[in-house]
Each structure stands twice: as C-alpha cells, then as structure tokens.
C-alpha cells in the first residue's frame, strides 16, 4: 500500500539515518514529503497546513522517533488521520419522519447534479421506495429534457414545467405533487451555479427557505482542484450542506478535493458516482478514498 509515498519517505529517512536516533527535525523532513504528496493530489494548501500540524503532533511522539520503520510509521499515521477526517462510519440519508423526504442537488456547473439525481432516484426505487424527480434547472439549455430522458430510463416520474422559468415555483409544485401522490422521496435537480453568483445563490436560499429540504447534497467533481475549498465554504455558508456526492471517481484523479471539502464543511460524503450509467452509484468508503489520495 502507498508504495510511492512510503518509498519517498524511506529515501528521506535513509538520508537521515546513520546520524543516530531520529530527531524532531527529521520528522519535519519527512512531513515535507507528505505535504508534496497531498498537494499533488489536489488537497487544498490551507487544509494541508492544518492537517500536517496534526500529523506532526502524533509523529514526534514516541511512535515514530523510536520506530525501526519510521517511513511506514508516518504513512500509517497519515492514513489513519485521513480516514478519521473523512468520517469512519457510513452515513445514510436523513429520512423525513413524515414523507416525502426532500433532497436538493446543488453544485458548480457540470459536476454531475442531474445525472446523480437520476441515479439516486433509481437507487431508491430499487430499495422499494417511490421517488419523484423534479427538474428545477430553468437555465441550462435542455436541462429539463435531460432529466426527463434519465427519469424515463430509470422508470421514475419527472415533474417539471417547460412554460415556467421560476425554479423555486417548479420545485414547490414538484414537492406538492409528491405529497399528493404519496411519494416518499423527492429529488430536486437545480442549475449549476458559481458560488460567487449572488443572484443564483440567493435563489437556492429561497428554495431552501420554502421547502425545508432534509438533505442538501453538494456534488463535487473528483477532478476538482484547489478552488474546491472556497466553493464548498461558500455553498456551505449559505445553505448548510448536509452531505456530499463525489462524482467521476471512475477516472484516475487522486481526488484530494474530497478531503478539502470534508474539512471545511464537516458534511459527510454520502455517495460516490463512478460512471455515467444509472447504476454507477456506490456508498462511500473513507479508507478507499484515503488510499486513493495517497496514490496507491
């Protein structure tokens, strides 16, 4: 596991060996390698800084200084801390006491909201629930058509309107429809938006105020870079995100942004998306994600 990082650390430590027992300074040398590995994985600069401070605390304790295999020891600490930060246990959807459970999908443009809404609906359908999809993206050309097509493929009905350009109204009518039809979960697809787009962020706040969703899931593209931390902070600040869905994990990105988002929002990753098809949705495993970030 983690050959690349372990090897780098071994190299760092072997330079230091022969000078007797490891000192704090030596651990710092090793932590520079850890820093590089995390930054190469797109973990945000500021999150890396805090994270390393925590690692250092543990590493300069007896564990590493007296270890015969300091490289493995450091990697083990880093790995454990990563897993801990991403949440040890799997967290389920927060189901409403009295249905329907209302779920919003929010995030930057092109991150996978519409596809994920359809995948979740399909997933819930197969669990024996009765979902409704709501197409509340009135901006992107053919966003509603996209959701209708996906809904038809999933066998899940879609509520939307092509004659209305008020997203909040469509969402409200969608939730009302779900209630009338006795559906137990409503997935509201919203338009992609930038965190700095005041008007569109305010639209989401209004939608939230009216519909009191049980889940606000933020879609995070696994390829996202350093800006993810800022984006997540803005979305979380305005909406209080309840969870994250990491998308496009079927690629070869290291996905360090997941760590950043988790660190600034505290919201658990609830699902990961691993492809374009309806069934390409999986539960999140912090240990696998930690391994990926460390580049195994």
């Amino acid at each position: 596991m983690f050959e690349a990082l372990t090897e780098r650390l071994e190299r760092a430590f072997s330079r230091l060996r022969g000078r007797g027992k490891l000192r704090e300074r030596d651990v710092d040398e090793a932590l520079r390698e850890v820093r590089l590995a995390l930054l190469e994985a797109d973990v945000s600069v500021e999150v890396v800084r805090d994270f390393l401070a925590r690692i250092r605390e543990r590493a300069v304790g007896q564990e590493v200084l007296e270890s015969l295999t300091p490289a493995q020891q450091v990697v083990k600490i880093v790995y454990e801390e990563l897993v801990r930060l991403m949440g040890e246990a799997r967290e389920d959807v927060r189901w409403a006491k009295s249905p329907p459970t209302v779920v919003f999908l929010v995030g930057l443009q092109g991150t996978g909201k519409t596809t994920t809404a359809a995948k979740l609906a399909y997933h819930f359908l197969r669990e024996g629930r009765s979902p409704l999809l709501v197409g509340a993206d009135v901006y992107r050309p053919a966003a509603r058509e996209q959701l209708e097509t996906l809904g038809a493929k999933a066998g899940v009905p879609v509520y939307t309107r092509h004659d209305v350009d008020d997203a909040v109204r469509i969402a409200r009518e969608g939730v009302a429809r779900a209630r009338e039809e006795g559906r137990d979960v409503v997935l509201v697809d919203t338009a992609g938006r930038l965190h700095v787009d005041e008007e569109l962020m305010a639209e989401l706040e209004r939608m939230k105020a009216e519909l009191a969703p049980h889940e606000i899931l933020f879609t995070l593209d696994a390829m996202a870079g350093q800006d993810a931390v800022r984006v997540a902070r803005e979305f979380h600040g305005r909406l209080a995100l309840t969870g994250v869905v990491v998308t496009k994990l079927d690629g070869d990105s290291r996905g360090g942004a997941v760590l950043s988002v988790r660190a600034v929002t505290g919201a658990p990753v609830k699902f990961v998306a691993v492809g374009e098809k309806l069934e390409d949705l999986e539960p999140f495993y912090p240990d696998r994600m930690a391994q990926r970030i460390l580049g195994m």
Partner: protein
C-alpha cells in the same frame, strides 16, 4: 538588509500562491527555483520586482508568438473544429459560443451533434443552434458519432459551409474504449476531408486540478489535440494547470470561457491569464 526579506519563507509563500492557483507542485517549485536565481542575478530588492520577475518567468513558458493562440482555418473549403474532453467541462457550450462568434464574422456555420450518448445532448446542441442561428446535423440518440460527423462534413462540402463545429460526448481519458471511439471519429473526418479536423480543441474545466495534465496527455495522443479551451474562469478558479500543460506538452490555449452566455468567450491572452493567477481581478481574463 532588505535582501534578507527574501528568505525561504518568502519563496515558500510564492510557491504556495502558485500551487493554490492549480499550477501544480512540480511546476511551481521549478518556477520559484528559477526565480531565486533571477533575484540573485538581477539584484532585485522589492517584493513587487520579484512578483514581476515571476510573472515574466511564467509568460516565458507561454512564449511570445501570439499567433499560436489563434484558431487556424483551412485556406479553402470547410474548416472542421472538434470539441473533445472529459465529462461536463463545457464542450457543447464553448462550441455554441464559438458558433455565435463565427456567425458574427459572417461565416456559414454548421453544428454536428456528435454526442449521441448523453441524455439531452442533442436537444442541448439544437437549442444552441437556434440561439445563435446555426444549422445542425443530428441523428438519433445512440447513433454512431463518426457517422454524424461524416454526414456534417459531407453536407458542408456540398452546401458551401465555412465551418463545421463538431460536438463529442464527454469521456474520461482513462477509458480505453471511449478513447478508441474518439480516434475513429478523428480518422473518419480526416478520410472524408484531407487536413481535417483542422482544430481539435480539448475543453478543460478551469476548476480542474492536477488531473488536467493527464487529460491533456491522453487526448493529445488519441485525438491529436491542437489547442485548449479553458472554461469557467468567471469564478474564482485560476486554471493554473494550463501552465504545466504548456510547459510539459506545449499545447497552446486558444479560447477562454467566462460564463454561460453566448458572448462569454475570449481569446487567450497570456498576460491577462498570468495576472489572473495572482488574483488580480477575480481571476478573470479581461
């Protein structure tokens, strides 16, 4: 005494600014290393001078041949431009915006709905066609994308269109079969019209991190990419990975996306881009 201000921490801070702009660890370290040499050689004394020297270093990576950053058109007959890239980066939108620009220049533009896979992709392209007043060649969902492109090029040749803009489905570069499909599209277009495609634009999401380099490598190999369109620079992301792509692979950036509207497309300006890396303006390329 003033020189002492430029200690290791100072350079580390500069390195972190670059990394935070997604320039990447390796390129950032390389840039800052050569900057240290500059500071010594040129005897720079103020932080402003050092910043300027760093900007100049990055500009050197892009080179000063402005013509590299412009789209090339066929001397005669239709010019074919393909849009390729991973999922959701802005291929279809950038295509629509470019169509609008070219229409405005008086060109006859034909759009080819080469994404026959993603739900709603054909509708999306049709709407862009309506929005900018361009004709569209499309088949049904699931049709062979190479056949759609072939038909579009054929029609352009027969009916005297100036430009064919070909959309393709988003695909992750790690997926061999999808990259093979793209190879076939490029091959078929080239067989139909020698010299085509004249441009293959890799549409890169400006919020992407270090995976962008890998995307560029693989798409370059599979689809002989001729340029990059970097999108979504209207947010706070800086798109720094293109510096690394330029340095490692020498692929010029040709277009910059700064919004979802039809006019939100800019030519690439290295100077504006580098200013954006340091957070002047909101990372915008004016």
């Amino acid at each position: 005494r003033r020189r002492a201000a430029f200690d290791d921490d100072f350079f580390l801070e500069l390195e972190e600014i670059l990394i935070a702009a997604d320039v990447g660890v390796k390129t950032s370290a390389w840039l800052v290393e050569s900057l240290r040499a500059d500071v010594r050689k040129k005897g720079l004394t103020t932080p402003e001078e050092v910043r300027e020297a760093l900007a100049a270093r990055i500009l050197e990576v892009f080179g000063d041949d402005e013509s590299r950053f412009r789209l090339t058109f066929a001397p005669e007959g239709p010019t074919v431009i393909l849009f390729v890239g991973v999922n959701g980066t802005g291929k279809t939108t950038t295509l629509g915006k470019l169509a609008y620009r070219l229409k405005g220049e008086g060109k006859r533009v034909l759009l080819a709905a080469g994404d026959t896979f993603r739900a709603g992709a054909i509708d999306q392209l049709r709407l862009w066609g309506e929005r900018v007043g361009a004709d569209v060649v499309a088949r049904e969902e699931g049709a062979d994308p190479a056949a759609v492109l072939y038909e579009a090029v054929d029609r352009a040749q027969r009916e005297g269109y100036d430009v064919v803009l070909g959309d393709t489905a988003g695909r992750l570069h790690a997926k061999q079969h999808l990259m093979n499909e793209l190879r076939k599209i490029v091959r078929v277009v080239g067989q139909k019209l020698p010299g085509a495609p004249h441009e293959v634009l890799l549409v890169l999401d400006g919020t992407t991190g270090q995976n962008g380099l890998r995307q560029a490598e693989v798409f370059l190999e599979a689809a002989r990419v001729t340029g990059i369109a970097v999108t979504k620079l209207d947010g706070t992301a800086r798109g720094g990975v293109v510096v690394t792509i330029q340095k490692e692979l020498d692929i010029p950036v040709k277009l910059v996306g700064v919004g979802e509207g039809r006019e939100d497309l800019l030519d690439f300006s290295p100077a504006a881009f580098v200013a954006g890396l340091f957070g002047e303006g909101e990372g915008r390329t004016p």
